[in-house]
Chain length 337, copies 2
DNA sequence: TTGAAAGCGCTAACAC
DNA sequence: GTGTTAGCGCTTTCAA
């Protein structure tokens, strides 16, 4: 019942604790027979090493903290799954911190700045301030960003400009010219640049195909299905409504679909809609969308932090993952009837 | 750069390390001025305690492992969120293990059986074998089950019999009599009894309202939207098809909706459908369903394991959380036209 | 190849 | 009220 220690194993195997330790750490400087004896003793006693002690001795925690916002967001979950996968084979534990309000922010910040609590930090889809970066630097804490940006930190991001462009090009190639774009507020300081980048991609695609950008066709609002629905209603009630809408997220695209249904506008016959993210629901509503490598971003981020702990910070700092177009049932050629 | 220890703080404050420790652990046997000195020294040096050492000394890990299947399942995420919330205020870390295949099962099992790795284990929506229970018992590892069952372990479950009954009663009260039930295989050894309980509730509701159970109206199959669709098609092609279908999960209910759409059967005019779980998608497709207290189950489970670590195992072993009926747009009175 | 012993940073008797 | 010290379980020199 009371935990078995290396000492008891040593006694039973009639060797010193140093030898037991060597066997356990697969040092080769041990006679096969000694090794046998020790292994047998371990088994008999049901010994399992005390990781706390090991970690204290080695000055490592074998834990990595992951800070992430809103565990409700499907995209965050997918990234987390990737991280978990990267850690599965390692001896590192992943400790997630879900930050859903400012108070929690304080709590996790304190934890993160403690070298004895974790060997590294993974920040997922959250903005990071200069002072935080400085703090990490000061205590020499390895950090990797997933879906966030800072020039001095290792980061895994996707090419959102390319994504916005890809979505828009898909519609252009189908023959659309009146293409609208709806998104969150693009200038919110709390926000990552991803949505702004998607908009840039949209503009660039239009430009390259020499389609003039119509400011009336751009809407920004709070994130959310309902808010997106309202924005879409405004667009669809224009004198010359768009024939296609690029939404900067699937959730918003679904809001657009709501609006179309409400106005009895058939998708994709009368209106094409494309989303962004490829969340689960995208499949359910048969939404054409831009798939972000969410899972992969987690996987790469997980590998990166592990590697950085092992070998230090390596170039390149920025790893850009490609997006891809998933064509489903909400986009088609415009209806010229 | 090299971590500050209690020793350096002691030197700077010109006291002994014991005093520093006392201040840090808010023992009251310290003069206010001494306390001030120590606190100042801590601040100057940017000291933060080494948790590894503390934990080794105290024989506690301040970590709890959570084993859960398929982090893709929305229900699992919700429970996890609740657990995280329960831990937020505590000094305990939550280490999640996502088990998606047998190999991973082996890895996590080894970790779980190590008292030095965690102070407790939380098992979420996973079956647990007698030998595992025995193993936990042997090493005195506190365990709490969420959405799983074992007679000797603390567990948070929902009253699935009541849930199945509530769903069925809702339909009965709308005036339905030909009510079908589809679910996973009810006798699968890998499965929790929840689905079987929902079926029991269904039977009980029928019985109480003296509606005869028609075996033709019960279908079991693999879990999944597509599989559910097939089962629904069989039901709807019966000579006397049901006017309402109870699905044992929302995913399956959505499959039923697929089948109805395919057969041009209008929901809820010609067919009522009710699901179970109230996952996010339920809202999207406007599905009437039974809401499980998923988040709450995580919260309660988290509190329970913390409490068990603190005070030992307390009665009652089983905590049953209530379900509730969420009426949306897929149920209505039967069409007698 | 093996053993003895120091010490990781902390807490908690126990002395003063 | 404060200091001294043993020791949590382990790894790793250093000696033998």
């Amino acid at each position: 019942m009371s935990p078995v220690t290396i000492k008891e194993v040593a006694k039973r195997a009639k060797v010193s604790i140093a030898t037991v330790s060597r066997v356990l750490n697969s040092s080769d400087k041990v006679t096969p027979e000694t090794r046998e004896k020790v292994l047998a003793a371990c088994k008999d006693l049901g010994y399992s090493p005390n990781l706390q002690a090991k970690r204290l001795k080695l000055g490592k925690t074998h834990a990595i903290m992951a800070v992430l916002p809103f565990l409700t967001l499907p995209s965050i979950i997918e990234r987390l799954r990737g991280v978990l996968e990267a850690f599965a084979a390692s001896e590192f534990d992943l400790i997630p911190f879900s930050v859903e309000n400012p108070q929690e922010r304080e709590i996790y910040l304190a934890s993160l700045s403690n070298r004895s609590r974790s060997d590294g930090v993974l920040i997922i889809s959250m903005p990071i301030t200069e002072s935080q970066v400085q703090r990490f630097q000061d205590i020499g804490m390895p950090v990797v960003l997933i879906d966030s940006h800072h020039r001095t930190l290792k980061r895994i991001i996707v090419d959102d400009i390319a994504g916005g462009k890809m979505a828009t090009n898909h519609l252009l190639e189908l023959g659309h010219e009146r293409i609208a774009f709806i998104s969150d507020h693009l200038d919110s300081p709390l926000h990552f640049s991803s949505m702004a980048d998607r908009f840039k991609g949209y503009r660039k695609a239009l430009e390259e195909k020499q389609v003039k950008f119509n400011p009336q066709y751009q809407k920004q609002g709070m994130h959310g299905r309902e808010e997106a629905k309202q924005m879409a209603l405004e667009l669809l009630n224009l004198a010359t409504p768009p024939t296609a809408i690029v939404a900067a997220s699937d959730t918003q695209a679904i809001g657009v679909l709501d609006a179309a249904r409400l106005m009895n506008i058939s998708v994709p016959r009368q209106l094409s809609v494309i989303g962004y993210d490829d969340i689960r629901d995208a499949d359910y509503v048969n939404l054409t969308t831009i798939k972000q490598p969410l899972y992969e971003s987690g996987l790469e981020g997980g590998k990166a932090i592990l590697q950085q702990i092992e070998n230090g910070l390596l170039e390149p700092l920025e790893i850009q993952l490609p997006v891809s177009l998933i064509i489903r049932g909400t986009t088609a050629a415009p209806n010229h009837g």
